[in-house]
């Protein structure tokens, strides 16, 4: 849709009630509202406190290992024969994905607020591992809700979380995947409001989460801007990132939203194909209300939430962050999708050409780079966010490639 009036800036949202256009908001039970308002206030204070930023910077550098490199993927560039491809290497962060950027911010905030009990939901387990890691580092109790189906298919991450001292609770309700893990985390929060901090893993949920998580992830795009200026003396021509809830994507995109010449592509998970089971909320869904915000959702004509499917557990969610829903309607970001098979092919190509095993999530982004890059000229600078590493997915990939590694 491009009929919408264009704003002066795409970077000023949300409004004070948490809306990005018609999306976002605070659709939660009354029990949680005081907590959400308290969180909003605490985050506003932290945002304006140099001490908070200094603490973030210290742990970003010495614990996470930031800045992550912006790497020229020379062989992939040669192979595809078009755009000059750069990888933003978020997979090199401590715990192996971009998730830790956000968790660091939220855990430091939880400490400021005096909350000692941390809960989180997780799909693939990357957000759960990042949360368990920082809770271990700061001596906080950590409970991670994970769909029973995901517990089965992401065993290595479950073991990691256990080793880090977290309690992983398999969720047996509903479809037993990420959306149900989020329901269960909300049920925990409603029950333990006084002492508990809910560390949400993506740019979704009630305000202020979508904005706060985005701010913590925007370091990805800020570094990319600086690094590309150093490498090429100018801004990139295009950005590509995968989207489940959309935190790695918004982190890369947000600092560039007002640079009108930068093309931006968000890649959803098309699973078995858009006419089949998939997880592409923007391509195959419509606006609805779930988990505290209005956004695009996969659902039936009665508003009942549909089961999502993706080979990547991290993209297997029937919704998307509200800011992406808005950017979609404004036409600022182009949202397209990649299937399971396309992601698997991209995974193999990247592994063989660059010696980098990407996670299945950014393999979706790479799949579209394979399509987009050959259409561009050789001086076109394209950045793709390698949001996580593929080690966690080896069992899934082996199964799909019919190879036995167990």
């Amino acid at each position: 849709m491009s009929a919408q009036a264009q704003p002066n800036s795409f970077r000023t949202g949300p409004d004070e009630r948490g809306h990005f256009g018609q999306f976002g908001g605070r659709f939660v039970a009354e029990t949680l509202m005081p907590n959400i308002l308290e969180l909003e206030k605490a985050y506003d204070e932290a945002k304006n406190d140099p001490a908070f930023h200094a603490e973030m910077a210290y742990f970003s550098t010495h614990y996470i290992g930031r800045p992550s490199p912006l790497y020229f993927a020379e062989r992939m560039t040669e192979h595809l024969g078009g755009a000059k491809i750069y990888f933003k290497r978020e997979e090199l962060n401590h715990t192996g994905a971009h998730k830790v950027n956000n968790v660091l911010g939220q855990i430091l905030l939880a400490r400021r607020m005096g909350k000692k009990r941390i809960i989180a939901e997780t799909g693939a387990g990357q957000h759960g591992v990042a949360t368990a890691t920082l809770c271990a580092r700061f001596g906080l109790e950590c409970i991670v809700y994970m769909g029973a189906v995901d517990v089965e298919r992401q065993k290595p991450n479950v073991f990691r979380m256990n080793m880090l001292g977290a309690k992983v609770v398999p969720v047996q309700s509903g479809t037993r995947t990420l959306k149900d893990a989020m329901n269960e985390a909300l049920r925990d929060w409603v029950t333990n409001v006084a002492d508990t901090f809910y560390c949400i893993g993506t740019v979704a949920g009630p305000h202020p989460y979508p904005a706060m998580v985005r701010d913590f992830q925007a370091v990805i795009g800020e570094e990319t801007r600086k690094q590309m200026m150093e490498a090429e003396g100018r801004l990139p021509d295009s950005l590509v990132a995968c989207i489940g809830g959309g935190s790695n994507a918004i982190g890369l995109f947000h600092p560039f939203l007002d640079d009108k010449d930068v093309e931006i592509y968000g890649i959803e998970a098309a699973g078995h194909g858009l006419s089949n089971l998939h997880a592409a909320s923007l391509s195959g869904g419509r606006p609805g209300v779930l988990h505290g915000n209005r956004t695009y959702l996969l659902m039936n004509e009665d508003g009942q939430i549909a089961d999502a499917h993706s080979i990547s557990a991290g993209l297997d969610y029937p919704g998307i962050g509200p800011e992406h829903a808005w950017l979609h309607e404004m036409g600022r970001v182009q949202y397209i999708s990649a299937t399971d098979d396309e992601a698997l092919e991209a995974f193999q190509l990247c592994s063989k050409l660059e010696g980098i095993l990407p996670a299945l999530e950014p393999s979706h982004a790479l799949a579209k780079v394979m399509e987009l890059a050959p259409q561009k000229s050789k001086d076109h600078l394209m950045v793709v966010n390698i949001s996580g590493r593929g080690d966690k997915d080896l069992f899934t990939i082996a199964e799909h490639l019919k190879q036995d590694i167990a």
Partner: protein, 279 residues
């Protein structure tokens, strides 16, 4: 109609007792049985009936109501069919207030204006929508009030005196006090604290205050009925219903009776506490 709710509380008040509000899920375990249950409730002693609108992701509900919603969805229950059941109930009972309780997404997807028109026409008197706090009043609360339907708000132990006026501002019909921080059907509340909370809310409003979450038996009902204008029972009724289903989750000859038996016990509990008729 808000008036039907007001009239019912006036009647209970005149009888010097608290109102019994019952919750069952529309379409659980099948549409016809759930209608039969709904119709049997007033005779068993329910003063106000809440009918649950099934939703796949009921984030404030415990296992009993989650499962009830999934049973209903499995047999094809949806918003339009739920309104049909209420229409059929209303054709036989013009006085018992019907409250539709659920989550916003099915209503949003149905279309707010169309939903309010159809709900009113079907005979719905009030709405409880768990995920619409006062911050989102523009979405449904204010349009519902304009349409003459009560939007009944939940007040909780975390709703402090500072926030209470905002919560009460556009509430009509009654105030639903959630007795615990938690999900439906979980812990049993500390009845002493509940009484204090009800008193606190009553200082801010002249609306009736009913108490729900964790009320499971006639004894609980009697305990809460001391201070409150009404009590809500949901999960306990659904547990009673579930206990009678066959291994395919289908109704049996005992299903309706199991619910009405518990409602009669609760009704006796409520009626065992006689209040001073207020001036």
């Amino acid at each position: 109609m808000i008036q039907r709710i007001e009239a019912r509380f006036e009647k209970c008040h005149a009888e010097g007792r608290a109102a019994l509000v019952t919750y069952v899920m529309a379409g659980d375990p099948d549409p016809e049985t759930s209608l039969e249950i709904l119709k049997s409730l007033p005779g068993a002693g329910a003063d106000i009936v809440e009918f649950g609108l099934p939703f796949t992701d009921p984030m404030a509900d415990g296992p009993a109501i989650q499962a009830a919603g999934l049973r209903a969805l499995k047999v094809g229950q949806d918003t339009a069919k739920t309104l049909d059941l209420i229409r059929r109930f209303r054709a036989e009972d013009a006085e018992t207030p019907v409250i539709l309780m659920g989550y916003f997404n099915p209503i949003f997807v149905y279309g707010v204006d169309r939903f309010l028109a159809d709900a009113k026409e079907a005979g719905v008197d009030g709405l409880i929508v768990v995920d619409l706090p006062p911050e989102e009043d523009d979405e449904l609360c204010l349009p519902a009030l304009r349409a003459g339907l009560a939007f009944i708000r939940l007040a909780t132990p975390t709703t402090d005196d500072k926030r209470l006026p905002a919560v009460l501002a556009n509430t009509a019909g009654f105030v639903y006090y959630v007795s615990i921080t938690g999900i439906t059907g979980a812990a049993t509340p500390d009845f002493g604290k509940v009484a204090a909370a009800v008193e606190r809310i009553k200082r801010h409003t002249s609306l009736p205050v009913v108490v729900g979450f964790g009320v499971k038996s006639g004894a609980h009902a009697a305990a809460v009925a001391q201070g409150a204008d009404g009590i809500v029972v949901g999960s306990a009724l659904i547990d009673a219903l579930k206990g009678t289903l066959d291994d395919q989750d289908r109704a049996t000859s005992r299903t309706v009776e199991a619910v009405t038996t518990l409602v009669r016990e609760l009704s006796q509990g409520v009626r065992s506490v006689t209040k001073r008729a207020a001036a």
